[in-house]
């Protein structure tokens, strides 16, 4: 593909709001995970909750969209000056020429979970103030974002579980490459809800401790929430130091709804496709931000795929010990982390991980360290066997 410029990007997670909070935490190896005390949830697990989400009030004209997921969407859009960069792009290209491509797994389903507690005892009806379209539906955050910026062009939500907001980069890049749009707001937002907390617990995939990606003793995920956004534009002459999307690769496992292909075959195909898309060889990659959820099966499968393609030469880490697994937002959050790694020259470590699994022969990094990075790869793999790998680089 033709490289695209990330002319702005931002991330908000349990590490804090925006890039500065994120980079400080990553450098210090700090985790934002805490014991679960979300809503009425009673589970023995740790989560990554974003502070202050419920204190946000959406603009009055968009009050119909009010739910935890859109409050976090709004927080993310107005962090690091991201919204201003979008408004400048809209002024430059026009309202119909800036697309919206956002990923989520559960969107505002928490709003429906809460509404079900308020059903009419006689009729079973949901309360009159509950609005399915603007809160629960998967398109809600993309529709909210499109309305918030007054956009009049293409918009979609991609919902492929935990690969959702990696795949938005690929989908937006296609439309920009074909000239249908000039820029795209891409990203992902997922927020804590009962469906994912109790659902992952029912699959016995949540850890009773802060998650330990790639540790020999890893025993499950820590669910997080987050918002990550980037503004993608063409970059015929990118300024030195600019962050570029160089390639994207997608594949399917065709194996199982909730278990990865044991050999990591789908993961390997996604990484190979991303390298091909970027016109690069494995030796060109300086760091891999692993999907690294910290379940025994997921890390083993991804590790096999990484080892098969890269051996143990490339430094790798999962940042989910810091942020938790932000599910449908993970791809966008980790894209922002990759952009920080490239611009700051810091290779992020893996808080929570004590002793990397010796059965997985890759170059796993525990402590953050300085490193001159030119090109990095980020993996995101989802339920249903949906895989996406992205390659980012920094302009010389």
């Amino acid at each position: 593909m033709t490289p695209l410029l990330l002319s702005a990007y931002t991330a908000t997670t349990c590490l804090g709001r925006g890039l500065d909070a994120t980079r400080l935490a990553l450098r210090a190896g700090r985790s934002g995970l805490a014991r679960c005390a979300f809503e009425t949830v009673e589970l023995d697990t740790w989560i990554g909750e974003v502070a202050g989400v419920d204190d946000e009030t959406l603009p009055a004209a968009l009050a119909d969209y009010d739910c935890r997921n859109n409050r976090l969407t709004w927080m993310g859009l107005e962090t690091d000056g991201f919204g201003d960069r979008v408004r400048e792009a809209v002024a430059r290209y026009g309202r119909a020429r800036v697309g919206v491509f956002l990923g989520t797994s559960t969107s505002g389903i928490l709003q429906t979970e809460l509404a079900y507690r308020r059903r009419d005892p006689a009729t079973g009806a949901l309360p009159a103030d509950f609005n399915y379209r603007t809160t629960h539906n998967s398109f809600s955050l993309a529709e909210f974002t499109r309305a918030y910026f007054g956009l009049e062009g293409m918009a979609m939500t991609i919902s492929t579980a935990c690969s959702s907001s990696a795949k938005v980069f690929a989908a937006a890049a296609r439309q920009i490459e074909l000239g249908l749009i000039d820029a795209a707001v891409v990203g992902g937002v997922d927020t804590l809800c009962l469906t994912t907390l109790y659902g992952f617990a029912s699959l016995q995939l949540t850890s009773p401790r802060p998650c330990r990606p790639y540790d020999a003793a890893r025993d499950g995920i820590s669910i997080g929430e987050g918002a990550g956004f980037a503004l993608l534009e063409r970059a015929p002459a990118p300024p030195p130091g600019a962050v570029l999307l160089l390639g994207a690769g997608e594949s399917s496992d065709a194996y199982h709804m909730s278990s990865p292909h044991p050999e990591g075959l789908g993961a390997k195909r996604a990484m190979e496709a991303a390298l091909k898309s970027a016109g690069l060889a494995p030796a060109d990659i300086d760091y891999i931000n692993l999907h690294g959820t910290a379940t025994p099966a997921n890390d083993a499968a991804e590790g096999r795929a990484v080892a098969a393609l890269f051996g143990d030469r490339v430094p790798c880490s999962s940042t989910k010990g810091a942020t938790g697994h932000t599910l449908g937002a993970a791809g966008a959050v980790e894209a922002a982390i990759c952009a920080l790694a490239l611009t700051d020259g810091v290779l992020p470590g893996s808080p929570g991980t004590a002793a990397p699994d010796p059965a997985i022969p890759i170059g796993y990094v525990i402590e953050s360290r300085a490193a001159a990075l030119r090109r990095v790869l980020s993996n995101s793999f989802g339920f249903g066997g949906s895989n996406c790998s992205l390659i980012f680089g920094v302009a010389a």
Partner: protein, 267 residues
């Protein structure tokens, strides 16, 4: 064929809607050769799935598998090789209702199967398991504009990857009490196998672009009701054109004020 960047050939069609169990029956009605008779949608058993998955298959899984397989069979294609785009305005509504109902009680120990079937890409996941297709699989949602969103991404993939893409746009109903908030009446959808090259099986050429012109409606009131009440059936004006074998432009609903203009040239 126009030089629009979003252009492809249609090689196979799958269709299910209330009273219209497959593409040949829909084509006859859309051509005016048969009257439309309302009836609940008929969803074939997903025989391609392993027995355990087949027993548990939800309505959206049965619907999307049947749609995709009809289009693949129509084209004589190999499902295992195809990239796919799944587009739906919602996920499995019955499963969602069951989860929300249980999470509102004191017993929140939900079933693991219910949870993994709750993801928007559940139907796509079962498609991969059933067909063995490891090619890229896109799953998206644009509420009432989901058909248009799926068409735009599928056509972009065909244009850039120069490979066939199977678009499956589908919707299923929610049970009450969600139905009152989202009154989709029944299951329905359309599958189009889109290819970059013409072949002896090719049915038509299409090219899509943005327009501000209003979308077309259908003259038959019952068919028009299907078009407006089930998002995937916003495709009906395009299908009517394909059924009639007429060349020309057709307007489809997308995201106001942007609508889609599709140029159709039958082969």
């Amino acid at each position: 064929m126009s030089a629009a960047p979003l252009a492809a050939w249609i090689e196979g069609i799958g269709f299910i809607a209330p009273g219209l169990p497959d593409w040949p029956s829909a084509r006859a009605v859309l051509r005016g050769e048969q009257p439309y008779t309302a009836a609940p949608s008929v969803l074939p058993a997903p025989t391609l799935l392993p027995p355990a998955e087949r027993r548990r298959a939800s309505r959206v899984v049965k619907l999307s598998l049947a749609l995709g397989l009809e289009a693949v069979a129509h084209a004589g294609a190999d499902a295992a090789t195809l990239a796919t785009v799944f587009s739906a305005s919602g996920a499995d509504g019955h499963n969602c209702h069951a989860l929300c109902e249980q999470l509102a009680t004191d017993d929140r120990q939900i079933s693991p199967t219910r949870f993994h079937n709750s993801v928007h890409n559940a139907a796509a996941g079962y498609w991969g398991i059933a067909t063995g297709a490891m090619a890229p699989c896109q799953v998206l949602c644009a509420y009432d504009a989901s058909f248009g969103a799926g068409l735009l991404d599928a056509l972009a993939q065909v244009a850039l990857a120069r490979q066939p893409v199977l678009l499956i746009a589908y919707d299923s109903e929610y049970p009450e009490p969600l139905h009152a908030k989202r009154p989709v009446p029944d299951c329905a959808g359309v599958a189009l196998l889109l290819t970059p090259e013409r072949s002896p099986c090719t049915l038509a050429a299409i090219g899509a672009g943005a327009t501000a012109d209003a979308a077309e409606s259908l003259a038959d009131a019952e068919l028009e009701a299907l078009r407006t009440s089930i998002p995937a059936l916003r495709a009906l004006p395009l299908l009517q054109r394909l059924a009639a074998g007429d060349a020309g432009r057709v307007g489809l609903d997308y995201l106001a004020p942007m609508q889609l203009n599709v140029q159709v040239e039958p082969c």
